[in-house]
Subunit: 225 residues, 2 copies
């Protein structure tokens, strides 16, 4: 984790600090698996948390890690994000449920990246590349198959980047941590994993005849959410 | 959807209003399937979006629908939620990816419930029941098996409720909506569904011998996330 002491302070995990993990590789593994996250922004004192597709990227100018999101220029809350209002982008992968002998110690296994900062619009001369990064992250293989955005479509898209400067990674993994007094209870304890899997591709009703399901879909990794 | 005109205004879906669905049954189906959501709260102008386990409930006092979350009394942001600060609780189920012939029209299928309001602590005389509701929602069958919370454990838990008064449901479903000019492109189009499935239960290393995996786990519905 980088950032000033002040920024580090705001994303320090206070509860369960053993769950905080500053490892950039672990952070990037979460971001590589995640298709979506939630962007929070404040409008007139009221926070809004919006689901957004999220793609990790490298700023071609600074070389710094950043997260890309995109939305419509017609969305009020997206325009608020674009204006540089303070924001939070949270990406969570739910890995399973933890069944302890007590309900109190029962919990969930998850990995969560929380990033604070201000979004800014992607530079116009970087928009085409950034859109391809988003497409390739969400739909690997698709950027050389589906038609790229036209100039008009790109203009209708708010393409925003959040630098990964002030961030935290929180990981909850492993089995139950029962109170020793509960260990002898005749109750099953352990973990039930949750997996995200792709289903069978469903062709559009108006699909032209004779176009097979693309081979790249079969290579999509499981475990994305 | 209920609420005043003012509250309705803040959760009206402005973009893609065809995706907004005020149907309470559809909302409750999302909440029944969701294990977690994201609670957003503002601290000194900075929004924070925190992953939380979420359980739907009925307020025994008013009969109104509400959402329960719980956290530690030691969590600063949870205490902020408990203080009645303006909050947003967003629950999203990701149902699949939509592959259009153009990258611009490609999208995701999802169902999202967004609720605005202020959390308040669950009444002390309702805490035991509310904790059982949370356990039964997240881990059906478990509340009669694992040890219930002790008085001390209940005291260490911040148990909060958000009334479902100001809320919206946004649903994106179905296949790609391509520009007519793109329909003849020799590109596959359709939907690739995403499913959340339970994995094989993993016993805790210190599980007492002879305790089988509980039968109720096999009855847990798939598709929860």
């Amino acid at each position: 984790m980088s950032g000033t002491a002040g920024t580090a302070e705001r994303t320090r995990v206070r509860r369960g600090p053993e769950k905080q993990d500053h490892d950039v590789e672990a952070r990037d593994a979460v971001l590589a698996s995640a298709l979506s996250g939630v962007a929070a922004v404040v409008d007139d004192g009221q926070p809004f948390a919006l689901p957004v597709a999220v793609a990790p990227d490298t700023d071609p100018g600074t070389g710094g890690a950043r997260l890309l999101v995109h939305g419509s220029t017609g969305s009020r809350l997206f325009r608020l994000l674009a204006s540089g209002a303070p924001a939070c982008l949270t990406v969570t992968l739910l890995d399973g449920v933890v069944l302890a002998r007590s309900q109190f110690e029962s919990s969930m296994n998850y990995r969560c990246v929380l990033a604070l900062g201000r979004f800014s619009p992607v530079a116009p001369d970087d928009a085409d590349r950034a859109l391809q990064v988003i497409t390739e992250h969400l739909l690997p293989g698709r950027s050389v198959d589906a038609r790229p955005a036209s100039r008009q479509e790109t203009a209708a898209t708010l393409l925003l980047a959040l630098p990964l400067v002030e961030w935290s990674l929180k990981v909850s993994a492993g089995g139950p941590d029962d109170d020793p007094a509960d260990l002898d209870r005749p109750v099953w304890a352990g973990v039930v994993p949750l997996h995200q899997v792709w289903g069978e591709p469903l062709p559009a009703p108006d699909l032209r005849r004779g176009i097979p399901v693309p081979a790249y879909i079969a290579t999509w990794p499981e475990g994305r959410s």
